[in-house]
Amino acid sequence: MIKFYIALYTAKIVRTMLKILGRKATFFPGRVAITICKDFLGKIDKPKQIIGVTGTNGKTTVCNLIIDALNKNNYKVLDNRLGSNIDAGIAAAFISGVNIRNKTKYEIAVLEIDERSSPKVFPYVKPTYLVCTNLFRDSIRRNAHPEFILNIINKNLPVETKLILNADDLISSSLGTTNEKTYFAIDKLDTDKTESDNIINDVRICPKCHAKLKYNYVRYHHIGNAYCPNCGFKSPKPDYAVTKIDFEKNKIAVKRNGNEKFAQKGASLMGEKEYKLISNSIFNIYNEAAVIALLCELGMEEENIQKVFDEENIVGSRYKEEKVNGIKIVSHMAKGQNPIACSCVFDYIRSEKGKKEIILLLFDLFDAKESSENITWLYDCDFEFLNSNDIDKIIIGGPRAQDFYLRLLIAGVPKEKLVFTEEPKETANYLSLDKEKDIYILFELYDEQIANDVRAEVKNRIQNSTKDKTEEQQISGGAN
């Protein structure tokens, strides 16, 4: 234990120094501690209940909602939301939560856990509950493919952890062998299909007998409800199902299915309850369903959960909408190198009403500086969705502009609708500034500053063209 206390005190001193210097101290103290004491995460005192959140998309949103809900219900919550979601970030959170005698001050922790970090986290941190939002293809360089991610989580998953899983995702829903599982899902929607129109669907064959799977409905990529006509394998039945979505009234209905578990706890638990719809995107409805399932499993009264959602909105840097002199400008983050996230944003934009002009800033800033971006992901991503009558122009900016241009041509977008320039700021020059056409600026996570500059340039151009006053109105929404 001497090594552990040296690690703890060193990390605490580093943390204090970083704080004095005005730094966040949400990663480095943890890295210092783990370097000194390899099993530091195992030895540090932790809250009695730990809620882990992992998955490809939606981790941060789900974590934030859970933390808000617990805070509003007077729990003392430790979290890593300001820091990193790998082992060092998690260690830094625990370090901030203990006193010098290694006693935690918190009763519950909510931790976002990077799905690739599970071999370094789960041997020492055994979540009471683990929410897995979904598993999709992500960065080819880091995550390879979802089967790889599924396998590394499975290999390290503590047997005692209770899983909260997406029944509509046949990859993540197969997590855990003997773990107790609770499933959430969204019932069939009018917009569902029976064949995926995405390039990527990573669950086309039965995981048991390898025959071709049939989908009762498919929503996007492999998300849907499937069965095997050969061996009878099928998607799991949800314990929590979103049965109705009312976009006009901003409500969803969630039904606890009357399985044995709820029947034992009492018939009152088997009803259907309404919650405020916190975002109009299907991805966030899944996130909301995951949070409702977890909070119910934690034993929180449904009335209290309803109150929590009444005060929630998903806003932030991922989606920003404003009107400048009657022209709508939308900035939408679309995680670059992640074909699923970008496809979802493209799908969202094509489904929005009205004529549009799009500025694409999806290049990798870091690769542009010292390497050459691996662009294989462009060919996993549904650029075909941007070949839409309502999209009048696509202006591509950045060092990989010509690669995006070629990809869009292959996707069938007519040449006359496309413009490219290596200089992102110049993209604004090609907009028509027609009041009938909304402007969408799609940007990669790390290109946010560039996107903000482009947005400022767009606003400048609009203002200079009309000399009218700007009216800004923040509205929530977006694809993820």
Partner: protein, 237 residues
């Protein structure tokens, strides 16, 4: 009519590589693409096709594909002898090797058509740019893989590795070529990224007047990438 058989697209479809086929479809007017699923008998068993294509897959899928193709090993060997054109990308190459070795030493027997074997290292994904050469054509592409191949391919490689590794980190020879059987770890999609190679490839299928889809734009992208890849300052890792 050019006939291309795409093997097991329901599982062999990773890393954008289905667009090699879509690009050929857009570039050649008289073309038929036959998608053969795991439950079908491959077309090449009973019928002549001009090209057989297989894209990368997951590690579990490799085992399914080996199991599926094993009964046709002799037929595949015979076709290779007859100069049948194959293009196999990424870890599809490993299917045709002697075996694939896991970290624990366990082995999955391959089709044994090439003299290579592969070793997996699932916790260390290898990523790199690749600059190579076939005849006088420079090749650009990417590598992103868990396994590397080993064995002597010095007399039957596909590309000279000019920058970035060959079949493993020590090798300067990338991929395998046995007659017109071509296998490579280079991702791209390679035919979209390398218009000169695509023309070379189509010529092997007997196509004479070749106008690639969006050729001017594809050539422009190729030139930009080649310049970046040839720049000594460019980081390959």
């Amino acid at each position: 009519m050019l006939k291309i058989e795409v093997l097991f697209p329901e599982i062999c479809n990773l890393f954008g590589n289905m667009y090699n086929i879509k690009y050929l479809e857009k570039s050649v007017q008289d073309i038929e693409i036959i998608y053969t699923s795991l439950t079908d008998t491959p077309k090449f068993v009973d019928e002549k096709v001009d090209m057989i294509y297989m894209a990368p897959m997951t590690e579990n899928s490799q085992e399914l594909v080996i199991e599926k193709l094993k009964p046709y090993t002799d037929k595949i060997k015979e076709l290779i002898e007859q100069n049948q054109l194959f293009l196999v990308i990424g870890n599809a190459l490993e299917i045709f090797g002697k075996y694939i070795e896991n970290e624990d030493g366990s082995r999955i027997e391959g089709l044994g058509i090439t003299n290579l074997y592969a070793k997996r290292d699932m916790m260390h994904r290898y990523n790199s740019l690749f600059l190579g050469k076939i005849e006088d054509i420079k090749i650009v592409g990417f590598k992103s893989q868990f396994a590397m191949s080993y064995g002597d391919n010095s007399s039957n490689y596909l590309f000279d590795a000019l920058k970035g590794p060959g079949i493993n980190e020590e090798s300067k020879f990338e991929g395998v070529r046995i007659n017109n059987f071509m296998g490579t770890y280079v991702l791209g999609p390679i035919l979209v990224l390398n218009p000169d190679f695509t023309k070379y490839f189509l010529k092997l299928m007997g196509i004479k007047d070749i106008n690639l889809a969006y050729e001017e734009e594809a050539v422009s992208c190729y030139k930009i990438r080649l310049k970046e890849f040839e720049n000594p300052e460019t980081n390959y890792d």
